[in-house]
Amino acid sequence: MLFPTFNTAASGLGVFRTWMDAVSDNMANVSTVRPTSEAAFQARFVVASAIGSGQEAVNGAPAGARVTGISFGNAEGRLVSDPTNPLADANGMVRLPDIDMGDQMTQLMIAQRGYQMNLTVIDRAKDAYQQALTIGR
């Protein structure tokens, strides 16, 4: 494989971008109202795991991280009294998702820093590879 470090860092970029996508989906739906007869909007959680055992990176075989699935949060949500809402039931209750904005913001920051870190790796690797192209010139 040519320039394997790029592929490894790109796999990390993919994981963190997926995570940011999930967080933005969660935040966009933080006030999504559902009738009590339906499930609440469920928070999205990205599940990631390492590619291979860790030995691959030494030999230049494909390595890095990948998204292995998405798991969903609590469908129960929380019941809120909002009698004027057209979706409210006979008791005036509606269902809101159980998503904490503070938690989502923290996740967003972690995902963003992780993304930036992988970009830094690509930048540094590019310098090293470019230097390698000058051998014998």
Partner: protein, 114 residues
């Protein structure tokens, strides 16, 4: 490769490239639950190989980082990785300069004006 100096530089470049790949893997897995960071070692083996007069016998090995593990089973320390990445890249560029100087000497010896 050419002579013992060339072989030593070439072995060092190999080891450094492997270390760079392992660091990239550690960074990609900085938040992966249960991931244990990898560490590359080749310097001791290279030193031994040079002492024995055959640098191409250098072996590159990876170890699992002994650093303490987080709650999610991960032990990648991002600051360690950045420092390691910077050192590795600078050492890599230094080795390339050394290799180019070596080629420069050869070019002089051959008598080419290019």
């Amino acid at each position: 490769m050419i002579d013992s100096t060339g072989s030593a530089i070439y072995a060092a470049l190999n080891g450094l490239a492997a270390r760079q790949r392992v660091i990239a893997n550690n960074v990609a897995n900085v938040e992966t639950p249960g991931y244990i960071a990898g560490r590359v070692s080749f310097e001791d083996s290279l030193r031994e190989a040079i002492r024995n007069g055959n640098a191409s016998g250098t072996s590159v090995s990876t170890l699992r980082s002994p650093d303490p593990v987080n709650l999610n089973g991960n032990n990648v320390s991002i600051d360690n990785e950045v420092v390691g990445l910077t050192k590795t890249d600078l050492a890599y560029q230094l080795m390339i300069s050394a290799l180019n100087s070596k080629f420069g000497l050869l070019r002089t010896a051959i008598g080419s004006r290019g």
